[in-house]
Subunit: 376 residues, 2 copies
């Protein structure tokens, strides 16, 4: 890894998420885990904090976080949940409730999620529902969670029948992003995280897209001088979308770009072998190609998007499941109302809209897909 280590830690950037009900800051920096304690203390009137994490992340970073919390005068508890999307279930949730009761957690106890999207979603939903809501802090340690999962207040668990079927909107008190935590992330997960960054650029911000095109390799190497401003801009875009449309309606729907087919791919793969960001990458390219076929976006848009994703070491071709399987997976998409799906299409790089399409207009046709000429 060639990224220069910054000479000193500190909060370098702040993005404010403005909501009708309550606003909160996203703090971004390098080596700032040591400084999170006083911030958590401020939102834990009972002087108690429960840190929820997963084993690999907890082993590396929980000691630093716990030390910082204790240094701020908090009584702290550390809970671990198994890693992986499969642990975002009702049984683990029940286990968290029991553990919160054992800790003596009350409404003034802060729940701190330290880890990726899974721990953020699971701990966040426990925080949302236990005693009708505890203060919640996010310390995301994956690119994906930094850009996506920690902004917008969406927390959830899965049911056997599907992902994120039970959940809430529960805004964190603040989000604490330390990009130094990314150094331990395996390369494939790093790449997957950048898919969400490409997504927000593709639907909203040509300038960020151009920045990603310029810096792709440096970003993959986590160069702080490149990564911090890119992350800040990506967070600011997502924050802007969420601020303008707190409840999931028209505007926020755009954040589903690439997710309709992405979810189908994850589902058909039984959530094994494909990472969320990889599935979204494939889904975005498919949606961009559909946008071009419908003459909604200029020719070349899909190939430009695909080229960037390839440089970020992301897969762009949908797996070869039977068309019937795709149709079936799309029909149970929970965002669907009646028979149409509000599909997110590109109007060009940096601009998107939704279009009501039938599952049959979205599901890939295997033959056509593999014969399609590539220009990039």
């Amino acid at each position: 890894m060639s990224a220069a280590k910054p000479s000193n830690g500190g909060i370098l950037r702040t993005v404010q998420v403005l909501l009708a009900e309550r606003s909160y800051p996203i703090q971004l920096g390098t080596d700032i885990l040591t400084e999170v304690g006083p911030e958590v203390a401020r939102c834990a009137p009972s002087g108690r904090a429960v840190v929820v994490t997963v084993p690999p992340v907890g082993r590396r970073y929980a000691p630093t976080v716990l030390r910082s919390l204790r240094g701020a005068g908090l009584r702290v508890h550390r809970l671990e949940v198994p890693d992986g999307d499969a642990s975002k279930n009702l049984r683990q949730l029940k286990g968290l409730y029991d553990a919160l009761l054992d800790c003596g957690a009350d409404r003034g106890t802060a729940v701190v999620a330290l880890g990726g999207g899974v721990v953020g979603d699971l701990a966040g939903y426990a925080a949302a529902s236990f005693l009708r809501g505890l203060p919640f802090v996010q310390i995301p340690t994956t690119v994906l969670a930094m850009v996506d999962a920690s902004i917008g207040g969406k927390v959830a668990v899965n049911l056997p029948q599907g992902k994120n079927l039970v959940g809430a909107f529960h805004q964190p008190e603040f989000v604490w992003i330390d990009i130094a935590t990314l150094r331990s992330l395996p390369p494939r997960q790093r790449s997957a995280g950048f898919a969400e960054m490409v997504k927000v650029a593709a639907i909203w911000d040509l300038e960020l897209f151009e920045r990603l095109e310029r810096d792709a390799e440096g970003l993959l190497e986590l160069d702080p001088a490149l990564l911090l401003p890119a992350l800040e801009r990506a967070c600011a875009i997502k924050a802007e979308v969420v601020s303008r449309d707190e409840r999931e309606s028209d505007l926020r729907m755009l954040l589903n770009f690439g997710h309709t087919l992405g979810h189908a791919v994850e589902k058909l793969s039984r959530y094994r072998g494909v990472l969320h960001g990889e599935a979204v990458s494939m889904g975005m390219v498919a949606a961009a190609r559909r946008s071009e076929a419908l003459e909604l976006s200029p020719r070349g848009t899909a190939d430009r998007l695909a080229a960037l994703l390839v440089r970020l070491k992301l897969p762009i071709e949908l797996p070869d499941f039977p068309r019937k399987a795709y149709l079936e997976a799309l029909r149970v998409d929970k965002k669907k109302r009646a028979s149409h799906i509000r599909y997110v299409v590109l109007k060009g790089i940096g601009r998107a809209e939704t279009l009501p399409l039938e599952p049959g207009e979205i599901a890939p046709r295997a033959a056509r897909r593999s014969r399609r000429p590539r220009r990039a």
Copy 2:
């Protein structure tokens, strides 16, 4: 029963609950179940409604409600959950999620709770959390649920460790109160419901209290000419408190009057043999006596309250559990922060405030309690 049957059904009264986020109406009337369909249809964009009820209520009233919903063009599903507070648990909740999935419920499907507080809480929490929130309608069929449970958006399930430990704030689209449904309520449950009506009068409204004193026997007999205006006023008070203080803080805390010891009694009785309203009745009298002992309210306040509750056929003396048991039960009260409990005390009939007290200052002393002279 001597109450005159009203000559015609219809919506006689409306109370508006004004919230920052979204306001909703409480409609009160006699024999108005037949008219609920079009109202539900308005808040079910997918044209689908799921009615959740308990067997005895469902047998009597679900056919009327389902007919009205079908008449309004809705596809309807009827789900039943077992009656009793014990069914407000995670297992039943999971069952509701499964049933909602089986029905094909999406975000435009309305969940209609038909029954008392248990079904309102359980179905309400399912509606709050399934797909992060479905439109929710309350049709309360007990006095208790009409006055209390259906206003304020608090929905929850129990954990084995305690009541209402998992929940949300999820405001209904509207509340539909048909007092004709009370005719089938056993006398003891009727009385228990009036305890919550006395509560809101005691903390907030001398005029309503005087009305209850004037009409106690007629109310117990469900005379619509007496019951409708009393219910309307009680709902309006609770709506006012909730409107002014949507999240549970200072003002809303007053609604806990009688509930601190009431919950302890329920817990020590293992939720058997004592109805919630009965426990609240005992708790209110104990709190009123404490208020007098602390010289916060005029002498005679507690006896005046006790006299009304007795006329409404409610118990007023706390059961004779050991003081140590009361202390233990009070210490796990989830509303507690640190060692103090914010105890609701009366400043007189119609006025209340909270006072931070130690459990030891709240728990009854058996000897003193039984020797206390009564003046009413």
